[in-house]
Symmetry: C2
Subunit: 448 residues, 2 copies
């Protein structure tokens, strides 16, 4: 049985089916949708994707008919009783018990911060398809003129982008000192320049404290920072994008061990501490292969991989997911931005004598219109090991970071990166690829 | 002293200057141009780059004034006398002797095949800037209606692309059984579909035997294949792009050892067998880190790296260039195509029990207009080591291959690639990156 029907859950169910054509597979999903691309929600909000159905990879009918997977929509799991191998659930108001041989918990995440006033009309969180459909309808029917996005991470910025494309005046309010916390400031700065060029206002170092409705009907987002007066922003629409925490209530009911990050602890086989119970996706923690420590790094692509391994093993296989290297990428307006590994601050916290090197080059030959590219390489001055790499560029930032991600998986040293044999041709690259330039610059500084 | 002023030569001179601000540095260049992007010549021919001066990275004046490098244009080195550390050269008809302490040979390559009739008016080789300027003038003044490109490798196709963009009817004539020899047939097929869609005719398995001028003034390219009647193609323009061989005449005069490939043998420091003589670029062979054998793989990006190492060491440094992994990429019309490592045939010839796996996916989310992507992974069934990776796709093929290139440098095994933490977001990638899908497919086949 699988609890949760989005990325990890449906990957687990599908993989289990492929491995074992005979076993009964049931998926309990409390919402009305399964197997959708949550990462595509901002493109639906912006109008770039016209119909939310385009975000659905496979329908429940497809799973039932083509994969013989019993998808139970609107069915919320309430408690796991591992001794009896039973899940207590309800469909609507009707309690049901479902027994299992093997269980995969894929309950995802829930919003990290609850702000007083979050339940007011016009305040949204874009954490699932149902919520996105509601928000989309609000955008179409209410035509808000102003929006405040609480949270300056990648989801907040993706939504700010979507709103701005609809002509809405957007203010992004972030707790951190720069956009995209976790990215290096030099890279975040490139993104900030881009969002400001599109008319988005940005406020840093401010925490939203509450949301209220004023007499004129507008929402007011109150915010504060240490030692500073309170202030507020008015808008017709407020989006809360302050990140998620693992949804672990159900796992706790089963007595499953949690990890240091507060998410469900799993081994490489995605098995929890409980017999016959696996977990995958935004509810688990994973090994960060660069820091060597457990990390909570919820992403759809990781959820797919973990789900596949959990499903494989629940069906008697022996798949392994060793961990992540901290890769993350997005596109904000025309700017593609991506990172892998640790930031300087994260690396120092992990015990490395880390340093960063920022370089600027072009995406491709100047005579073919090469666009500015900013890259930061993070490395350990002691071992000379590569620790991270970040790129902001309108063209090809993400796939450039992939090369560094592989180098992190391979635990490669920066001096060994200087002459890597990477692709070059004038329409898509410079003779010296950004990773090579940055590695060369790091090595040069070593000599000083 | 440096002989040759294009990619390797000017990189060597510049690096030597950076390392040693005091030493005298002279560059002998037989042509009239230095430091230009030879890889950009097709974009000049097509008209995408209006002025050939845009291809010149730095002018001779720049090198003289800013880097104190004495660039001697129109100065052809004829013989090296290592005993006296002297190069015999001529400027125009004037013989001159130039002495050196350290010498870098960067004489590049010369056309591989000489075809009778190659000296006729209207027949060109696009191997240097001077030749490209002449060809460009021919295109502008003669307005040829038809062109035959002899050679179906990447340079032939880039030029076919350039001619077709000018409205010329193009026929590509290749000796190999598919375009882009060295690429896997499945990848080459994608490119063939593209070039044909742009009206380019393609003839495989035919060797050009001679070129003649007919009574009507048209050029005729005669071609033949084993057991087949001779035939010919008529055109006003013929381009010979049958590859290059190392230009080693000068090196031979110095008694420098040649390698198995016929190119100059160098060690990791780019030093030849002769005392105080280095060599770099299209005149040297290099170590192929996947086959473990010397290879002749002339490319501008490699020339830049080798030149830098040669210059570093000629100035007393200790740089090392360990070798290549066989990375090559280009864009033919809208199709980007790239490879790294060995093809199945090359890998088998190198002693591997190699096999290829071809997969098809999309460049990015379907709902954002993902384009078809074809990828072939080549691996060793014995050691499970990755041996090669090739991609054809209108978007991001090359930088996708970079991830595999790094995996080749790191000698990674295919089972370790299945869950690599690579970038994902709907605007530029699918949840499962092509390399991961192909690796997963290879592992699945292993089980059979």
């Amino acid at each position: 049985m699988v609890i949760g029907g989005v990325a990890a859950g449906m990957s687990a169910a599908s993989r289990a089916r492929r491995r074992n054509p005979e076993m009964d597979i049931v998926v309990l999903e409390k919402g009305q949708h399964v197997s959708y691309g949550a990462c595509g929600l901002p493109f639906y909000l912006s109008g770039e994707v016209k119909d939310w159905r385009d975000l659905v990879v496979y329908t429940p009918e497809f799973f039932r008919e083509k994969r013989s997977i019993d998808v139970q929509l609107g069915c919320e799991a309430l408690e796991i009783e591992p001794g009896r191998k039973t899940v207590h659930a309800r469909r609507g108001s009707q309690p049901i018990d479902v027994s299992y041989d093997k269980l995969v918990i894929a309950t995802g995440g829930v919003p990290a911060v609850t702000i007083p006033g979050a339940d007011l009309a016009g305040v949204f969180q874009c954490s699932d398809l149902t919520g996105a459909i509601r928000l989309h309808e609000f955008l179409d029917t209410q035509q808000p003129r102003r929006a405040v996005v609480i949270g300056s991470g990648y989801i907040g910025l993706e939504c700010a982008d979507a709103f701005a494309r609809r002509g809405i005046e957007v203010t992004v309010l972030g707790r951190a000192s720069h956009l995209l916390e976790g990215f290096e400031p030099e890279i975040a700065e490139v993104v900030e320049t881009t969002v400001k060029a599109h008319g988005v206002r940005v406020i840093h170092n401010r925490a939203a404290t509450s949301i209220s409705r004023a007499g004129d009907g507008a929402l007011h987002v109150h915010h504060a920072s240490a030692g500073d007066a309170h202030a507020s922003e008015a808008a017709e629409l407020v989006l809360i994008a302050t990140g998620i925490v693992p949804h672990i209530k159900l796992a706790e009911s089963a007595g499953v061990r949690l990890g240091l990050t507060g998410a469900i602890a799993v081994d490489e086989r995605m098995q929890t501490s409980a017999n016959s119970i696996y977990a995958a996706g935004d509810c688990v923690e994973t090994q960060h292969l660069v820091s060597g420590k457990p990390a909570y790094f919820p992403l759809g692509t990781t959820a797919n991989k973990q789900g596949r391994v959990a499903g494989e093993n629940a069906a008697g296989g022996n798949g392994r997911f060793e961990g992540i290297v901290g890769t993350l990428a997005t596109t904000i307006f025309e700017m593609e931005v991506a990172r892998t590994g640790l930031s300087v601050a994260e690396a120092r916290a992990a015990g490395y004598s880390a340093d960063g090197v920022t370089i600027r080059t072009l995406s491709k030959a100047k005579y073919l219109g090469g666009r500015p590219l900013t890259a930061t390489l993070i490395w350990d001055r002691g071992s000379e090991r590569l620790l991270g790499f970040e790129v902001a560029c309108e063209e090809g930032a993400a796939k450039r970071v992939d090369a560094a991600a592989v180098a992190l998986h391979g635990r490669m040293r920066v001096p060994d990166l200087v002459y890597l044999d990477l692709t070059y041709a004038p329409p898509f690259a410079g003779v010296w690829e950004a990773l090579l330039i940055a590695a060369g610059e790091a090595v040069k500084r070593r000599r000083r």
